[in-house]
């Protein structure tokens, strides 16, 4: 009993001693706005599987022997996708992945624009206009501004990863999107 009492007193004493430090930390955290701000903490593992399926179920006019993905901007998607490709070695789909500059986006079949480089969409769109290139963004709502598919976290659906798809943008690029993709997409104009 005495041991319990001493133990409890020690815990309480230790905790109370740290009140000013915890209080300071709390204040610092409250007013920390943009310093570490990121719109959402994406699950890149999930994004990687989504992107793989987008490629799998899209008909490129040039055929699908070897698809090259160009990534604009840093994103943890890249290592996750490489890990996924290792698991998919036996698949018939051959995919290569590399970082590119916006000016190189007409040299690949798929362009993935990282959240932090979303402002590059306009340059990519101008450069690849009407070319059969699947443009995917990690930030939502960009399929309204020229992207084919925009991944996003849906606040209204328990923060699930979902995607918006613009059929018009895909058709304009001569890309045929199969039902597997369309059935679960949020279609935008």
């Amino acid at each position: 009993m005495l041991y319990l009492k001493t133990h409890f007193t020690n815990i309480l004493h230790h905790s109370l001693k740290n009140v000013p430090i915890y209080g300071l930390l709390l204040l610092l955290r409250c007013f920390n706005t943009q310093l570490f701000a990121q719109s959402y903490d994406y699950d890149y593992k999930e994004n990687a599987v989504y992107v793989y399926n987008f490629i799998k179920y899209t008909d490129f006019p040039s055929g699908k022997d070897n698809i090259s993905i160009g990534v604009i901007g840093y994103t943890p998607f890249v290592p996750e996708f490489r890990r996924l490709l290792l698991k998919k070695k036996s698949s018939n789909l051959s995919i290569t992945l590399k970082y590119i500059k916006p000016s190189e986006s007409n040299t690949v079949d798929v362009v993935l624009i990282a959240v932090g480089s979303s402002d590059k969409l306009r340059d990519v769109h101008l450069l690849t206009n009407k070319l059969p290139i699947l443009i995917i963004t990690e930030k939502g709502n960009l399929s309204r501004q020229g992207a084919c598919i925009s991944l996003f976290i849906d606040e209204d659906d328990d923060f699930k990863t979902r995607y918006q798809l613009s059929i018009r943008n895909c058709n304009a690029r001569g890309l045929q999107i199969s039902e597997q993709i369309l059935n679960n997409a949020i279609l935008v104009r």
């Binding site: 409890f8 815990i11 309480l12 230790h14 905790s15 109370l16 740290n18 009140v19 430090i21 915890y22 209080g23 300071l24 930390l25 709390l26 610092l28 955290r29 409250c30 920390n32 706005t33 943009q34 310093l35 570490f36 701000a37 959402y40 903490d41 994406y42 699950d43 593992k45 999930e46 599987v49 989504y50 399926n53 179920y57 996924l84 698991k87 998919k88 976290i153 606040e155 209204d156 659906d157 328990d158 923060f159 699930k160 990863t161 979902r162 597997q180 993709i181 059935n183 679960n184």
Partner: protein, 690 residues
């Protein structure tokens, strides 16, 4: 200096570390062979913060189809179970102090009620729902607050700080409070809780609660109870003539509450018994020679069925019964005391049918009809017959028919809510209440522009005690705008402004000389009552702790208030209600087990008529700002399932005063002085069946 530098380095490092904490947690689930179909059916893998959950949770009370807090076509404050527990709240008054725009005042007979946005709203102007059941009593439509409601069994409270008549009808003129209890799944076991409060010279509260809940397949059952005793104050009350008494043992608040819930597939049923036994010596104007019992009892039962016709269309049917016996005074009253016996048994039968149709992905339409029937009786008391004043009979009946419709439209421009409700009452006539809400999200900001018409349906006694030849419904128009900002993943700020304007306000008057048998009466005010103001709410939650900051300001617009509420020396204030109110609730986690939660409630200057001059005219008293400071230290799961805490409320022994918000000649009613509380909660969780 070196130590400070080290501390700063540590803080910076720790903050960096905390910023990354949420993003490092990952599971090892293999998704690589999943199809899009399978991925879309996955549960969310996104690790939400408490704040993200709060601002995106569905708000049931704001629209017929629940929308997230950011998109709801109302200005909403949400208080979660964690907010309640960690703030160390003693009762529902402490809980509502966290909401901007809410304040508390005394009515009569020891009843402390609610004010909203500078307006006294306790009598039929705020709808309070407990698990969907209307807690306003049916005779006068009033509410009573203090040591009631089992707050440890509350899962969430949604406070709609604006009108809701387009959905709920005549009690939701200024606000809607929706209390949602923990469900069977939330409890999933047995939970017991105790709160003990002690002041210098007496007990403040001694309450015990028990809850049981279990879900087996499609069948859910929950039960929660609260039983206890408490007191409003340990201070001295002085009436307008200077007569005083000690509130100790003269202002009891003894609650008994039973809440049963049952659901099976689309069917659900609920039964609530709520009784608050009080004693009062303050009566209406003159303090009495001793305290008499004044009790507020309600039974409520509901049966509800939801039939999903297909994925886009569902029907909801609800049948409700409520029996109220409010303001019950049956003690034998000494001849020296002016305190009449009173007993009313008011029954309300309600039927509601609604259809909810997702017509398009961008369009939802809800429509339906509601009917209720009020049947009130006044039985004899001690052999003395009672009658309703106007009809001179001991039984009255009223019907109310209503039809409602609401559409939610998602567009590129914004989300638009359009709705209306038409009520036709056999005693007070028709009331049509449309609403329009436009909500828009732009990045981290969200905006709301709201307009609503609302009304207060006069209660049975409002009609029967009417001094006006015809008691008309009170009509209100409210304009609101709100901007919300998700500052970061852990904090959210909202700023709102409103303009409220009320016509035909139902005014309560107390004049013992004019009413020989009963000291009260009602009339429609011939003035337009109007307040404008703004509210700010800042919430922060993380593993380090929480901050709930609420600030509210109101001003009477251009002297637009009723003679009963006006302050002769300040045309911007209403009686009894502070123009500025600031509340700060904070909590700092100290390791995994302990937290410390200081809080403060600051009220600006207030006014009240609480004494008489030598000619017998009421004298206006100006009250200096009131500051209440509290501290609570809690411990979670010291032993599995055991939580407890201790706190000191009103540390400085500030004179907490509830001031009457109309010129009713009632003295300022004291609240509790310094109170030491001890809370304990223990729950045993049932093992989940495989």
């Amino acid at each position: 200096m070196k130590k400070i530098y080290l501390l700063l380095c540590f803080l910076a490092f720790y903050t960096l570390l905390l910023a990354q904490v949420d993003s490092t947690a990952r599971d090892t689930m293999d998704l690589s062979d999943m199809s899009i179909e399978e991925l879309s059916k996955l549960k969310s893998r996104y690790k939400t913060t408490e704040m993200e959950k709060m601002v995106t949770q569905a708000i049931a009370a704001a629209s017929r189809k629940p929308l997230s807090l950011k998109r709801s076509p109302s200005i909403v404050s949400v208080i979660t179970a964690e907010d309640i527990e960690k703030s160390g709240a003693r009762d529902i008054i402490d809980v509502f102090q966290q909401v901007p725009g809410i304040d508390f005042n005394v009515d009569v007979q020891g009843v402390v009620g609610i004010s909203i946005r500078g307006l006294w709203a306790n009598e039929g102007k705020v709808l309070l729902l407990l698990d969907g059941q209307e807690m306003n009593e049916t005779a006068y439509s009033t509410l009573i607050f203090g040591n009631n409601y089992n707050i440890s069994q509350i899962k969430k409270i949604e406070v709609i700080r604006g009108p809701g008549s387009a959905i709920y009808g005549g009690y939701a003129e200024y606000a809607v409070i929706n209390i949602i209890s923990k469900s069977a799944e939330d409890i999933n076991g047995v939970e017991a809780n105790v709160i003990i409060g002690q002041t210098t010279n007496t007990y403040a509260r001694q309450n015990v609660g028990l809850a049981i809940g279990k879900k087996v397949n499609n069948l859910s059952f929950s039960m929660s109870t609260l039983i206890g005793r408490g007191q409003r104050s340990n201070s001295i009350y002085t009436d307008i003539h200077g007569n005083s008494f000690d509130m100790k043992n003269n202002a009891d608040l003894n609650p008994t509450n039973l809440n049963l819930g049952l659901s099976y597939k689309g069917f659900s049923a609920r039964f609530i018994y709520d009784m608050l036994e009080t004693t009062t010596r303050d009566a209406y104007i003159d303090a009495m020679s001793k305290a008499y019992s004044t009790n507020f009892g309600t039974y409520m039962a509901e049966a509800k069925y939801i039939q999903k016709i297909n994925t886009n269309f569902q029907l909801q049917g609800k049948l409700n019964y409520k029996r109220c016996t409010p303001w019950l005074v049956t003690d034998i009253i000494d001849s020296i005391d002016a305190y009449p016996n009173y007993k009313i048994i008011a029954d309300r039968y309600r039927f509601n049918l609604a259809a909810i149709w997702d017509a398009k992905y961008w369009l939802n339409i809800t429509s339906g009809a509601e009917m209720y029937y009020d049947d009130a009786q006044k039985p004899d008391i001690h052999g003395n017959p009672q009658v309703f004043a106007r009809d001179n009979t001991n039984r009255v009946r009223y019907f109310n028919y209503a039809a409602f419709v609401q559409s939610l439209i998602k567009s590129r421009f914004a989300n638009i809510t359009l709705g209306a409700r038409y009520d036709l009452n056999s005693a007070t006539g028709a009331a049509f209440n449309p609403r329009l809400g436009i909500t828009k999200r732009v990045g981290k900001f969200n905006f709301k522009g709201l307009y609503a018409s609302s009304y207060r349906a006069p209660g049975i006694e409002n009609i029967q005690l009417s001094i006006s030849p015809v008691m008309k419904p009170e009509r209100t128009r409210t304009y609101e705008i709100e901007t919300g900002l998700q500052i970061n993943r852990n904090s959210y700020l909202s700023l709102s402004f409103y303009d409220i304007s009320t016509q035909n306000a139902i005014r309560y008057v107390v004049d013992t000389t004019s009413f020989a048998d009963t000291p009260e009466g009602y009339l429609n005010s011939d003035k337009v009552i109007s307040t404008i103001g703004g509210e700010m709410e800042y919430k922060y939650k993380s593993s380090l702790g929480f901050i709930n900051l609420a600030y509210a300001y109101y001003s009477v617009l251009d002297g637009k208030n009723d003679a009963a509420n006006e302050v002769s020396i300040d045309k911007y204030a209403n009686l009894g209600i502070a123009n500025h109110k600031l509340t700060v609730f904070t909590g700092v986690n100290m390791g995994r087990l302990f937290y410390i939660a200081p809080s403060a409630i600051l009220l600006d200057r207030r006014y009240g008529y609480t004494s008489l001059d030598t000619q017998g005219n009421p004298v206006l008293t100006t009250y200096t700002p009131q500051m209440q400071f509290n501290i609570y230290i809690g411990c979670n799961n010291l032993v599995r399932g055991l939580s407890f805490g201790m706190g000191v409320y009103n540390i400085t022994n500030e004179a907490i005063l509830y001031i009457q918000p109309y010129n009713g000649l009632h003295g300022d009613y004291p609240g509790m002085g310094t109170e030491i509380i001890f809370k304990l909660k223990y729950n045993i969780t049932f093992k989940d069946e495989q």
